[in-house]
């Protein structure tokens, strides 16, 4: 899922284009929600045109949020869902105030909470932050093969088997992999910033916590093949070896 902030000035999709250039295939077919906070009921914003352009880029616009009444009506007519308020743990005002300078673009992708939870989850994502108490973890004991996508809604995902390249593990909570993690793992996809990823051997194509992600290319080679835990520290995605080699 990708949230696109429509800026008050300039090309509304400039940010998206930059993002797509950075990771063209990652967002392929990703559901998109347009955030209209900055341009609520601004007549200059042509929703229909924006939607058409997004589709051309290979994205799937599914809804709008923070729009004005007229925009919501246009969105509905265009087959988009006007979501009330996005509550995926991303609070724009705060983020703006504390991102003074030390924000590292390499590590943190900006407006893109997790690509994982796909369109059918759109609606429930809009309603409430995940409540994980008492939800049993989703346990898989057979290898997770390339092309397979598993989603642990409201809870943790435990894979007691290898996760192949091209497979995708998605969880609202933590993700544990007792075996090599070669595919993608997205934890806390509905905004839980305390979610973590644990794996026995980090060989992942991509890891993400609450939308902050890192692709294999940006992962320190020294960590590859190591048992690690991955978590968010502020806005920084941290990959920590589970066993430190004695000096």
């Amino acid at each position: 899922m990708m949230i696109v902030d429509i800026p008050a000035e300039g090309d509304p999709l400039a940010g998206v284009e930059t993002k797509l250039r950075q990771a063209p295939s990652f967002f392929d077919g990703a559901p998109v929600v347009l955030d209209l906070l900055a341009v609520a009921d601004d007549a200059r914003v042509d929703l229909i045109d924006i939607v058409a352009r997004l589709r051309e880029m290979g994205l799937i616009p599914i809804g709008v949020q923070n729009g004005g009444d007229r925009q919501n009506a246009t969105a509905l007519a265009a087959g988009l869902c006007p979501f009330p308020i996005w509550r995926s743990g991303r609070q724009r005002p705060e983020r703006e105030s504390d991102s003074n300078g030390e924000h590292d673009d390499q590590e943190l992708a900006e407006p893109q909470p997790a690509s994982g939870a796909k369109s059918q989850d759109g609606q429930r994502e809009a309603t409430a932050p995940p409540k994980r108490d008492g939800t049993p973890a989703l346990l898989v004991t057979r290898p997770v093969r390339s092309g397979k996508r598993l989603y642990a809604r409201d809870g943790d995902l435990v894979a007691a088997a290898p996760v192949s390249a091209g497979a995708e593990l998605i969880a609202d909570g933590h993700i544990h992999v007792y075996g090599p993690l070669r595919g993608r793992a997205l934890a806390g996809v509905r905004g839980d910033e305390t979610a973590r990823i644990f794996c026995q051997s980090l060989e992942a194509e991509l890891v993400s916590i609450a939308g902050a992600y890192r692709v294999r290319e940006d992962i320190d080679e020294a960590l590859i093949g190591k048992p690690v835990q991955i978590f968010l520290k502020g806005e920084q995605l941290v990959i920590d070896p589970l066993v430190r080699t004695p000096k």
Partner: protein, 271 residues
Amino acid sequence: MSKIVVMTSGKGGVGKTTSAAAFAAGLAQRGHKTVVVDFDVGLRNLDLVMGCERRVVFDFVNVINGEARLNQALIKDKRIDNLFILPTSQTRDKDALSREGVGEALEKLKDEFEYVICDSPAGIEKGAVMALYYADEAVIVTNPEVSSVRDSDRILGVLQSKSKRAEENREPVKEHLLLTRYDLDRVERGEMMAVDDVLDILAIRLLGVVPEDQAVLRASNLGQPVILDGTSTPGQSYRDAVSRFLGEEIPHRFTRREKRGVFQRLFRRTA
């Protein structure tokens, strides 16, 4: 108890048809009544590899459509008793395969044969899914290179989610790996993946490693399953693979260079 075995790979050109022909011939040689069915509708090849292309009258699609009886379409191999071929249609496409039609035909084949070997088309679309849907066991044919390994991984996922056994929540399809076109020189030069690297990713039982060898091409051109050429390394390794499939424990050959010196050989002989 008869078994349906699918030869599949995801990727094309890795040796599914060669392996299906060799495997079926091997099982028949071992005294099991076996039929090998070509599921690659529109790209009929199995009959060529089996050397029976001049004897095709009716085919699998005719049987599915009720235009011919099974016995009219089955071709008996001239070299090996117990071995039959069910060719496919060259003029139709994969839409000719219906789940019910394939199911009925395979049921009838199961009544007559101990092993039904399904030679799958490449891909993960309809044709491939039809070939694996009714399988009890699967032989994943893989070449030691990354794209083939990834596609095999994908098809393993399809097996475990789209097969009849998976749908009915029965015991999963039993998976075997057949690593073909293995070139020891290139592995040693680091140009090809080694057996262990492939096993590390796919994590399934290794049925056999078939060396890259001219004998395979020669055999296809002659229309003879390569397993009949017992002097060739591929022929021997397919025989080993069939034995392992039948439950025998045989050490793997052709996976590493023989480095035994004269002394060791002498020692082994006398010991």
